[in-house]
């Protein structure tokens, strides 16, 4: 029961981990990308469209599908879709100096609208009775477990039974953490987010760093959307089922104090909190809704604690949300 609860928490947490790792990379460059919910949504629907087309081209027999292609096509589609959203954001905020908050919120609206439009279109094509698309075959490739996981009892279930995107999420978070803190690129990126004028004077290309960080961050976040559809929802897409996971990912960034390594455990905690209501007996529907607030409550508590401790390292990047005009230096 406890093992099952933890596994469920991890499954729920992984999209948040992708989203917040992506957002941390973006925010370290000084971009407050509030378009993350939209970007994750676009990542999800792009993956769905990709795998839908591939499944259809293979006919009805699962044996016709190449496992590598079945995984790679949606993966690539999700990355491309999300990166394009990141490009739009970067172009508007870096090149055109648009307000970051407004751009981000607009991108969220755009992403969700686009996702719902494409989702509804696919449902139309399949002429399905239910308002959803099932990509169970593709999903089975995504949620394939390690073959020997079942033989190892609780250990296998806890550590080895997850889909590969879960492991990828953790690996990406660790790599992001390493790059940010231990490499020259990371140092340069952080300096761009902290003080772009200083970075510029030191010969760092602020525009390039902001573009690249935002696009990579978006691509990572997009994978979160894909993981949600393919692993958590077993390949079933229905409009708006993604819910407020994008906002929760942004809350997780604050919770993790802009550290991807902290975000790993944080995402599992958030997953557990989201799921706790299902494991407590005798809750009415209205109390269940109260329980769903827990991740946000925890984030607020973390905000209060960090603002009381006043440690500069725990603050967001100093230039977060500010456009950089070279002429004003």
């Amino acid at each position: 029961m406890i093992i099952q609860f933890i596994c469920r928490a991890i499954l729920l947490g992984v999209p948040l981990l992708y989203g917040s790792t992506g957002e941390i990379v973006t925010e370290k460059s000084g971009h407050l990308n509030l378009g993350i919910p939209g970007i994750m949504y676009v990542g999800a629907i792009s993956g769905v469209v990709g795998s839908f087309l591939y499944e259809n081209s293979c006919g009805n027999d699962i044996a016709n599908m190449n496992p590598a292609l079945a995984v790679l096509i949606p993966l690539l589609c999700a990355i491309v879709g999300a990166t394009l959203m990141g490009l739009i954001y970067s172009f508007l905020t870096v090149t055109l100096h648009a307000n970051q908050n407004v751009t981000g919120l607009a991108l969220t609206t755009l992403g969700i609208g686009l996702g719902n439009f494409l989702g509804a279109s696919l449902i139309n094509i399949t002429k399905s009775e239910l308002p959803s698309i099932a990509l169970t075959k593709t999903s089975s490739f995504f949620s394939a477990k390690l073959p020997f996981a079942d033989d190892l009892g609780w250990f296998g279930e806890l550590f080895l039974s997850h889909d590969f995107l879960t492991y990828l999420a953790i690996i990406i978070a660790i790599i992001a953490s390493f790059v940010l803190n231990r490499t020259r690129v990371g140092l340069n990126l952080r300096s761009v987010g902290e003080n772009p004028a200083t970075a510029d004077a030191a010969g760092i290309n602020v525009t390039k760093y902001r573009y690249v960080a935002t696009c990579i961050g978006s691509a990572i976040a997009g994978l979160g959307g894909l993981q949600y559809v393919m692993a958590y929802a077993s390949g079933v897409w229905s409009n708006n089922a993604f819910g407020d996971r994008g906002w929760m990912a942004i809350a997780l960034v604050i919770f993790a104090l802009w550290k991807p390594s902290v975000a790993i455990m944080g995402s599992f905690l958030f997953g557990a909190l989201c799921n706790a209501n299902n494991y407590i007996q005798g809750l009415g529907t209205e109390t269940q809704e109260l329980f769903k607030m827990l991740p946000y409550v925890v984030t607020i508590v973390v905000l209060i604690i960090t603002s009381m401790r006043k440690k500069r390292e725990h603050q967001p990047p100093a230039s977060l949300g500010l456009s950089y005009f070279r002429e004003e230096r």
């Binding site: 020259r184 140092l187 340069n188 300096s191 902290e194 003080n195 010969g203 500069r312 100093a318």
Partner: protein, 514 residues
């Protein structure tokens, strides 16, 4: 041994729009020497140096480095010519350590912070810096930050160093330390160019002085063969009297009594700690201290703009002879008692004037409550504006020009003029000559002296210790929000004040116990 020219400028001209910032400037700096570039604000010193360091590109003329023509189009190009500039405003990332800031942007080689730290320690030892490479910038003092900036350019291998007003933020002791480091670098064969407008520094540090006036090159003299008055004449173009008239205060009476005030800022830090002093009518009380030691909070407390956690401020009203506690009064009531604050913050406009409004409207900011109808009456403020423009020689196209378009010095004149026009009984001024040329500075000093003669209690927060010592009757020194000493302006020395400025809290207690 003849000295090698490290850098030569030939007929450099730079124009911004219609303003000629530099016109036909010729300059040579040799290896193994310290060259001072002297000039008033707006004389084009910084523009000239920015062209050497790649921030601007000259419109005309050539730059030669080691006798070869050099084209410097970006700060990166400047690095390749081994030119390093230390800007007046530091370019550092606060949450990074010293070492991280120093290696930022260097692209060659492996990223190895440990090795860099060793290299930094080596440079520090070579020239006598004291720096912990792992210390975070936001925990550093201004002088430490400057050290980081200097090591940053040395780390990149610079052998031509340009320092823009390096002593503006340092105490006399820190300045002396910096100078000895610069001399050591000179002896090491580096070429050092220092931009300044402080004459005594020029004389004590540099080997040669080049003077600029209004963008034009006036000439270069050997420091050993010149004098303060000759340099001033070169700088200003005419002889001026550098002595401030200081009469003995007469008919003094206590005007403002500050008793043990303590003030805590929003972050929970104590910015004023148990401050007590008395300001007397008919005298100028100077306040000296490192920037950000609580000067601003002190003035704001008196003006009623700060919340005091402890202590009282009494005002002895000369009209009624009554003792009034300013702590229970609103800023408006305090102002109406005749306590006036003229604070010139670093951005000059922040407090006191509204940049987008013209001079007349800015006059009305202080008199809006005098009107009795819903419509504005501009007659009186306009007269006042014209009077200030005329009396203080404010350079402006008209009284209806937005204040933000005026130059820094003229903005200050408008601000100080407006406060003086209200015939105050207590006049508080902070940095009133910041950014002003010598002439305007002396005009402001004379205005303050006039107020003192009229029996006003003047509180003057200043940066330049020489001026404080020449102008003030008494000087109060504050360090980290505490009063570290009150000295007589006529007998105190600069070193004495410098020591008081840096006295740490612990020292303060020890001395108090003695």
């Amino acid at each position: 041994m003849t000295k090698q020219p490290a850098i030569e400028l030939k007929n450099i001209t730079k124009v911004f729009g219609k303003v000629v910032a530099n016109k036909n400037v010729n300059l040579t700096a040799y290896r193994g020497e310290i060259l001072s570039i002297l000039g008033e604000n707006g004389s084009g010193k910084t523009t000239l140096m920015n062209m050497i360091s790649g921030i601007y590109f000259p419109d005309e003329g050539q730059i030669f480095i080691d006798q070869n023509e050099a084209v410097i189009t970006s700060p990166k190009d400047a690095f390749t010519y081994k030119i390093g500039m230390i800007h007046q405003h530091f370019k550092l990332v606060d949450v990074f350590s010293a070492a991280e800031n120093i290696v930022l942007g260097i692209e060659d080689g492996k990223y190895n912070l440990k090795a860099s730290q060793d290299e930094i320690k080596k440079i520090s030892e070579q020239y006598g810096f004291e720096l912990d490479p792992e210390k975070k910038i936001y925990t550093m003092s201004v002088s430490e930050k400057q050290t980081v900036e200097i090591i940053k350019v040395l780390y990149r291998g610079a052998d031509i160093l340009i320092l823009d007003e390096p002593t503006a933020v340092l105490t006399p002791q820190e300045t002396e330390k910096l100078f000895s480091i610069l001399r050591r670098m000179r002896d090491d064969g580096k070429c050092i160019i220092i931009i300044t407008h402080k004459l005594h520094e020029v004389l004590s540090l540099s080997d040669r002085v080049s003077v600029l006036r209004k963008g034009e090159y006036v000439g270069t003299v050997n420091t050993s063969e010149t004098s303060e008055s000759e340099l001033t004449e070169m700088m200003v173009g005419k002889k001026i009297d550098l002595n401030i008239e200081r009469n003995k205060p007469h008919d003094t009476a206590d005007r403002l009594i500050v008793n043990n005030i303590t003030c805590v800022d929003r972050m929970g830090a104590t910015v004023l700690d148990n401050v007590s002093f008395t300001a007397k009518s008919g005298e100028i009380l100077g306040i000296a201290g490192i920037a950000g030691s609580g000067q601003r909070e002190l003035l704001e407390s008196i003006a009623g703009l700060q919340h005091l956690s402890e202590g009282e401020i009494f005002y002895l009203n000369p009209k009624t002879d009554k003792k009034e506690n300013l702590r229970d009064k609103t800023p408006m009531q305090i102002r109406n008692l005749g306590v006036r604050l003229s604070f010139v913050p670093e951005d000059r406009l922040g407090m006191g004037l509204v940049g987008n409004m013209d001079i007349v409207d800015n006059m009305m900011l202080r008199s809006y409550s005098k009107g009795h109808s819903v419509f504005l009456k501009r007659k009186k403020p306009k007269d006042l504006a014209m009077k200030i423009i005329h009396d203080l020689e404010v350079v402006t196209p008209s009284a209806s020009t937005p204040v933000r378009r005026l130059s820094g010095g003229n903005v200050q004149k408008v601000l100080v003029g407006r406060e003086i026009a209200a015939s105050p009984t207590v006049l508080m001024v902070a940095y009133p000559v910041r950014g002003l040329d010598i002439n305007s500075s002396y005009m402001i000093y004379n205005l303050l002296n006039e107020q003192k003669e009229k029996g006003v209690a003047v509180i003057f927060v200043g940066e330049d210790l020489d001026v404080l010592l020449e102008l003030c009757d008494r000087i109060m020194v504050i360090g980290s929000g505490k009063v570290t000493g009150i000295v007589d302006g006529r007998t105190a020395t600069k070193e004495e004040i410098g020591l008081l400025m840096t006295k740490s809290e612990k020292d303060g207690e020890e001395n108090a116990n003695d």
